[in-house]
Symmetry: C2
Subunit: 125 residues, 2 copies
DNA sequence: GTATTTCACTTGCATTTTGCAAGCATTGTA
DNA sequence: TACAATGCTTGCAAAATGCAAGTGAAATAC
């Protein structure tokens, strides 16, 4: 049997705090790490080691957990890292790509109001 | 002495995880509750009881903590709840009002991708 | 003026999440 | 075949969260 990778078992929607779209989005994305992974994906990074080596230093167990949750929510999917290779990489789904305006809004606010921040070498397109 | 209210002592910028504006914004806003308070403020709510009675049911100790952090970050400020009254309310500063595009982006994503969500009676203008 | 209720919190404590370090089985490379 | 890199998992201490129950000042009712 091939080694088990992070599973993608979409769960039925967990109980929501409210029908508010903001609250609902925050149930998935509202923490210190998840949107940094999305940021990395938007910047073109795709592999576990890439996310793990971002300057913020996400712990590997947290990264595993967040990838699992993003898979379950269909924000990302797995793909082979290279043609023919067996290693896996991650990419944004349409639902994930749709997060770009959100990440851009966060980036723009940070740039304007948090002194000393600067945009990535690769801007979030 | 008047009773002590939540203090507004802006701290020198804590150590940052990275100079990335997204990471920096998430250090302040990246959790399940903070942006819901901002949402309520954008919807015109201004008092502790208003935030506490939103449908998500934020625990009062968490609400206290989040108001304190937003005060310290100059995202909100205190004002008297009514003319002449001694009770306090909260309002967004310019820095806080600048969060509107971010909250709107989150709301729009939630509306589009999380089935069953619906916008507030009072839309986020 | 006094009693009562509301408001804006605080406190204590159990539960959950986070963070760090170490370990480990595959996969790729020399 | 050895060795290193990758993509995780595990164990555990520390921090954050969530719930319930206070608490004292301010507003309201009587």
């Amino acid at each position: 049997m091939p080694r088990q990778r992070l599973s993608n078992n979409p769960q039925p929607d967990a109980k929501r705090r409210s029908p508010c779209p903001v609250a609902c989005a925050l149930d998935l994305l509202g923490d210190k790490w998840t949107l940094l992974v999305v940021r990395d994906l938007l910047l073109g990074r795709s592999r576990f080691k890439d996310f793990a080596s971002s300057p913020e230093g996400i712990p590997s167990n947290i990264l595993s957990d967040r990838l699992e949750r993003l898979l379950a929510a269909n924000v990302i999917r797995q793909k082979p890292a290279e043609e023919g290779g067996k290693r896996l990489a991650y990419e944004l789904t349409e639902k994930g790509i749709a997060l770009r305006p959100m990440v851009r809004a966060i980036r723009d606010w940070g740039l304007k109001w948090e002194p000393g921040t600067r945009a990535e070498l690769q801007p979030v397109r």
